[in-house]
């Protein structure tokens, strides 16, 4: 188990749990459901937002919020 903010660029992972309830609801309706595959594709400098690919579109969220998202790294896709 890892958190999304620590996921290196271009690594893929599965969403496990989103801790903040408000954040969870917002991300769920955008398609970030448990088990969904995500990939980090961009990072803004100085712990700015990070951009992820999810259900074939690009979504940006704040670094602090990414700390609240548990993920499971998908190893074989490296």
């Amino acid at each position: 188990m890892q958190i999304l903010s620590k996921l290196p660029l271009f690594k893929s992972a599965e969403i496990c749990k989103i801790h903040d309830q408000d954040l969870e609801q917002r991300l769920l309706e955008m398609g970030c459901t448990p088990g969904e595959k995500i990939t980090v594709v961009r990072r803004a400098p100085f712990k700015g937002p990070i951009a992820i690919m999810v259900s074939s579109y690009m979504l940006s969220i704040r670094y602090d919020d990414a700390c609240n998202i548990d993920i499971k790294v998908i190893n074989n896709e490296g």
Partner: protein, 707 residues
């Protein structure tokens, strides 16, 4: 600042068309493009009654049916959070709304199907007749996403039509589907997610409270959304919710997860190769440059720089044309009409006023063209991404960059666009600082003064000095907006957390139609709404400056009698003793430390209504009593300071004047809109006071130091 029509709520007791067609969909799904393709220039832009969320409607004929097409703000689900989302949710859900749909068209980006049809399935479960318009299916299929439309249609029990909104393809099929769906509205459609299975008998209890058998509407009522329930029903539902220890967030989360499971099943049946190949290939290449951790910022600043250089440079030729045209028109009218009061009123009052506004249309059109262009390409979302960290530091949100940048056009729509910011605190701060961004109405003022005091030099071979000064005033507006936001961050308290969750759409070549419609719309608002006020002010001013109390004017003429070539002196003295002159003189002691005289004083007063009035006022004041037709610039150039005997408009006076206009809250419409948007008298008052203080202080300091 530009005036903006605030439409008073139109009470629609009777439906004025056969079918209400509501257009709903995610942001960036091509919804506006489809709306433009269906309506052309027939669209009307107003506001939702009582609030200022932009409402686009159009009366069109769809296969012989008179229809009203309503464009909703973009939403991802019916779980609304920001205020514009609430409007969309309310139109969809509240059957008492005058725009309540007979048929909803959900538009979905075919290469983004999973997320797009979430909203669709919610609407289906509300049992509202709905048609799915699958946009850009041709593009998606090229990238390997193969959608079986017939199967999708039968799985969801609705009509699905492939369209290309931009190329206006598939529209006649869509229209046919809308009409057929309307005619078969009574047919029962299958339920996508049965909330009874998930939440049990509580749904049926709410059905009986609401007296309607609509499970999903009852579920949304339980979650606290406005479904057109009466107060008694709302109270009963909230008691029920309390007794059952309902936590709304958990309820919604559970429902959302279950709904996506159903959607994933439908997609696995109907779509082959869900992952589009190379969809983001070009976007990735562009993003490598545009959101590069270093060059991204450099490029953003360069784009802004280019924008302001272009606004100044490209507008020069059309502006000269318009100015020349009005000069000739004035000369012609002055000659053709018998001289007298009417002639004077027409030439120096009305024509001077209209010419003064029309001349700035090229600049304003260019400015809005740039903003619309940047928004339509998808670049604005990148700017939000790049600036969120910085903006978060001063208590704002990456999303605030859109209100802030459109504030360069006009603060009114900019303040309205702050509605997409869901955090109350971030939204209030955005509203409070947006008027600091230099709006298009300041452009005429800056433009006149810069031409007056800054030489037309080119430095380093390519930078126009005038453009550079102009840009630094825009920069000044931005920096002070950041500083004030930072101060407000500590003053305004909230316990609620804020979020920045934003889709980054793939880049696209802008839809020129959308850009052009935006320009036409904004120029129209500027010309007609602001224009009306400016012409009215011009006429009143002409009256005030052409007449004086008692027999002031008679005395002046008597004094100069028998003197040759006295006309000019008579006119100057008359203006000084006219009503306008007296008003200006009264406030002169207050503004003298800023380097202003009573003539500028008059302009400051008329500018309280709207900043653009400055140029019109100056034109009128300087042309009263002057028989020769000249441009305002030449008139101001020849103005002499009575004390020093040198030119009145020195660099110190010019800079001081520009600073005053940079900060002062001289826009009644903005005050009105802030009042409405914040729903309190407190915020506009605070805003007015702090801006006036900043204006006076900075002008005072600038004049005292520079002179």
């Amino acid at each position: 600042m530009m005036m903006h029509v605030i439409l008073t709520s139109k009470l629609l007791t009777m439906k004025d068309s056969d079918i209400n067609i509501v257009l709903a969909g995610n942001p960036n799904s091509g919804k506006t493009t489809l709306f433009n393709s269906l309506t052309g220039l027939k669209q009307k832009v107003g506001n939702y009654p009582g609030i200022t969320v932009e409402k686009k409607t159009a009366k069109i004929v769809v296969n012989d049916f008179r229809s009203k097409l309503i464009d909703l703000p973009g939403i991802y689900s019916l779980y609304s959070k920001s205020i514009d989302e609430k409007v969309a949710q309310n139109v969809i859900c509240n059957s008492y709304d005058s725009d309540y749909a007979d048929v909803i068209v959900v538009i979905a980006d075919a290469s983004n199907l999973r997320r797009s049809i979430f909203l669709l399935t919610q609407i289906i479960d509300l049992k509202i007749p709905v048609v799915l318009a699958l946009n850009m299916i041709d593009v998606a299929s090229k990238k390997g996403v193969v959608i079986n439309i017939d199967q999708l249609s039968s799985e969801m029990g609705i009509k699905v039509v492939a369209i290309n909104a931009r190329k206006a393809r598939g529209l006649s099929k869509l229209k046919k589907a809308i009409i057929e769906t309307n005619e078969n509205a009574s047919n029962e459609t299958p339920t996508i997610l049965d909330v009874n299975d998930v939440f049990g008998k509580i749904i049926k209890v709410i059905n009986s409270i609401r007296n309607i058998n609509n499970d999903y509407a009852s579920f949304l009522s339980l979650c606290g959304y406005d479904m057109g329930n009466s107060i008694k029903q709302k109270v009963e539902i909230s008691i029920l919710s309390k007794n059952n220890e309902i936590i709304v967030e958990r309820l919604q989360a559970k429902e959302t997860v279950r709904r996506y499971k159903v959607i994933d099943k439908i997609i696995s049946i109907c779509v082959r190769n869900i992952e589009p190949k190379g969809k983001y290939k070009i976007t990735k290449i562009i993003d490598d440059i545009l959101i590069h951790p270093f060059f991204g910022y450099v490029i953003f600043l360069a784009i802004l720089f280019l924008m302001f250089q272009a606004v100044f440079l490209w507008s020069k030729y059309p502006m000269d044309l318009i100015e020349g045209f009005f000069m000739n028109l004035s000369i012609w009218v002055a000659e053709i009409l018998p001289s007298g009061v009417l002639n004077d009123l027409l030439v120096n009052g009305i024509l001077a006023g209209i010419g003064g506004i029309l001349v700035f249309i090229p600049q304003i059109a260019l400015l809005f063209a740039f903003i619309a262009f940047l928004e339509d390409t998808g670049y604005m979302a990148r700017v939000s991404f790049l600036t969120d960290k910085l903006l978060k530091g001063v208590g704002l949100n990456g999303r605030a960059i859109i209100p802030l940048l459109s504030g360069v056009g006009c603060a009114i729509p900019a303040i309205m666009s702050a509605r997409t910011i869901s955090s109350w605190k971030e939204r209030i701060i955005t509203i409070m600082v947006t008027p600091l961004m230099s709006c298009a109405a300041r452009l005429p003022v800056y433009s006149v003064i810069i031409n007056l005091i800054i030489p037309e030099n080119v430095i380093f071979g390519f930078i126009e000095l005038q453009g550079l000064v102009l840009m630094s005033f825009y920069l000044l507006g931005f920096i002070s907006a950041m500083l004030i936001a930072f101060i407000l961050k500590f003053i305004i308290n909230t316990s609620k957390k804020s979020f920045f969750i934003m889709e980054m759409p793939s880049y696209k070549i802008p839809d020129w139609k959308t850009v052009i419609y935006t320009i036409i719309e904004k120029v129209k608002i500027f010309f007609f709404d602001a224009g009306k006020i400016i012409v009215a002010i011009s006429v009143i001013l002409w009256l005030l400056s052409s007449y004086g109390p008692g027999n002031n004017f008679q005395e002046i003429e008597n004094r100069w009698v028998d003197k040759e070539n006295a006309g000019k002196y008579i006119a100057a003295e008359k203006l000084e003793y006219s009503y306008a002159g007296i008003i200006g003189k009264t406030i002169e002691p207050v503004i003298k430390p800023l380097g202003f005289d009573w003539k500028i004083g008059i302009s400051l007063i008329t500018s309280i209504a709207a900043r653009e009035a400055f140029v019109g006022t100056m034109s009128t004041i300087y042309s009263v009593g002057d028989d020769s037709v000249k441009t305002l610039e030449n008139r101001m150039k020849s103005e002499i300071n009575q004390e020093t005997g040198k030119a009145f408009y020195t660099t110190a006076v010019g800079i001081s004047l520009m600073l005053f206009y940079a900060f002062a809250m001289q826009c009644m419409s903005t005050i009105a809109i802030v009042y409405r948007e914040t729903n309190s008298i407190k915020w506009p008052v605070i805003q007015f006071l702090y801006l006036t203080f900043l204006a006076y202080l900075s002008s005072f300091l600038a004049y005292q130091i520079l002179s």
